[in-house]
Amino acid sequence: MAEFDTPVLKPYPEIPPIEIGAMAHSKPFYAKQDHQQKLGFPGELVDDWQRVAIDKMGELVDNSRALRVFLDSCVKCGACTDKCHYYLGTSDPKNMPVARQDLLRSVYRRYYTLAGKYFPSLVGARDLDQDVLDEWYSYFHQCSQCRRCSVYCPYGIDTAEISMAAREIMDSVGVGQKYCNEIIGKAQTIGNNLGLPEPALVDTLEGLEEDIEDETGVTVRMPLDEKGADILLVTPSADFFAEPHVDGLIGYAKVFHQAGLSWTLSSYASEAANFGMFIGSYDNMQKLALRVREAALELGVKRIVFGECGHAWRVAYNFLNTLAGPFDFLDSNYPVPQHVCEVTYDLIQRNALKLDPSANDDMVLTFHDSCNVSRGSRMGDFEGGQFAIPRAVIKASCNHFYDMPADTIKEATFCCGGGGGLLTDDLVELRVKGSLPRMEALKQVVDDHGVTHLAAICAICKSQFSKILPYYGFEMDQIVSVHQLVSNAIVLGNEQ
């Protein structure tokens, strides 16, 4: 992998001068034949790929009026140019959202607009050739589908939809990304992104039960496949495997335990993440979502709760009913589905949990809003609940909390740099550079308020920060799970 320089943190964010082609070399590994075929895509570039790609594009705009409007309506006003973390971190002008979108839009214009068909050069329309395909592969894997640019677009153009469409077109001609497609295949066969088989899951959960008992003296269970439980918890498989994710999982278990809630995990639906969204594939997204439905029916649960996973919550909150509904067999007194932060928040509101915030006095916290939660979903029954509820949970669990600057949080949050299917080692340069705006905002609260830790509710964000924090002079363990704070603060047992 090529060497690169980590950007320098400046006291104030600056919009960098453009460096043409600065990231033209960046591209992830290609999916292998069997990764592609498992997902129903061609194993390699098909012979008449231009025709297939153009037809696919036509099919996509016919099926989605939104996509057609996004492709037709950009007036190149430039409001999005300095809003993308990948542009701010890499200086490559093709990472300005308008320019990245135009890689697809110029081809759409050539084949699907009157002016482009007859006077292509007058309207910036171009033929689809190998160079264009290569450029798509590079730059549509430099968009984390975070949708920050869309917040500032006066037309509301959703860049993520365009990146998803581009990836779907590429998959349809046999050009897929290894990271996403290998993972989707595993989730569809084994049940989770890691490929963690049931016996390993059983062993891991038993180990965690032992750890909790050793640490607290209280028996807190991690039930798996227990029929008749009230709640099915669907959580990212990283929660079983990685740090600090696992500390969040321990937190959920303690909350359920202390609130007396009956719950279970499922070995069949042992994954909340749904990478089908990242590659824009409805079919693959649906297959993964159906596993959740089947597990809920099989186990006979009354509620479905999702753990800390950003895009999983977007899929769950927005699409689960369309993909795998109706969920009329669940208890309608609870949101279908519900976020674990909502569960904990409700319990806190009802004084049903005793939290001792001084347990986290060794930390000064800030909160990283995850893109897909902030801009793609909601929590609770009030506007902005997705911002207020995680913060309320954190503040109930610790004494020292400071938000990062206002233009870097909530709906204006910056991506961690690894979202949207880019959390892979073959894109480390992009991930490090793309995290620059978040690191600058973090540095500010570190300097101003002595912040020591960043809390998050997304498995991707947590893994990304563990990896990139050291590049910027921080420690890898300065990222924590929100329910890790709850886990530290919760008072278990009956003592009042």
Partner: protein, 110 residues
């Protein structure tokens, strides 16, 4: 990609992970470490051997906590931390140690 060693060729993926698990041997592990500028010592081997045993039983690498606990039992409690594992395997215990152990790279949001 491939590794050439003692007149034999071992197929690897783009990142140097062995394609065929059965190809693995001690010498190959040391060769992979050498390519990263590392020398495998007894403590590395404890981790590598644990990973291989665990994989044989469960067809997956152990979770970080499972690994730290096992290392703590074997090498002493002070070494049963992810910090210690990162000292041994600076590119990440899950990924780098799996590579030397001839196991596939863990996938997902990790």
């Amino acid at each position: 990609m491939a590794i050439e060693l003692s007149g034999k060729t071992y197929e690897t993926d783009e990142e140097g992970y062995l394609v065929n698990l059965a190809d693995w041997n001690d010498e190959l592990a040391s060769e992979m470490a050498k390519a990263d500028g590392a020398v495998l010592e007894d403590n590395h081997w404890e981790v590598i051997n644990f990973l291989r045993d665990y994989y044989e039983e469960y067809q997956i690498a152990p979770a970080v906590r499972v690994l730290t606990k096992a290392v703590g039992k074997k090498l002493g409690k002070d070494k049963g931390t992810s910090k210690y594992l990162y000292e041994l395997f600076p590119y990440g215990p899950a990924k780098q140690a799996c590579k030397y152990a001839g196991l596939p790279k863990p996938t997902g949001c990790v």
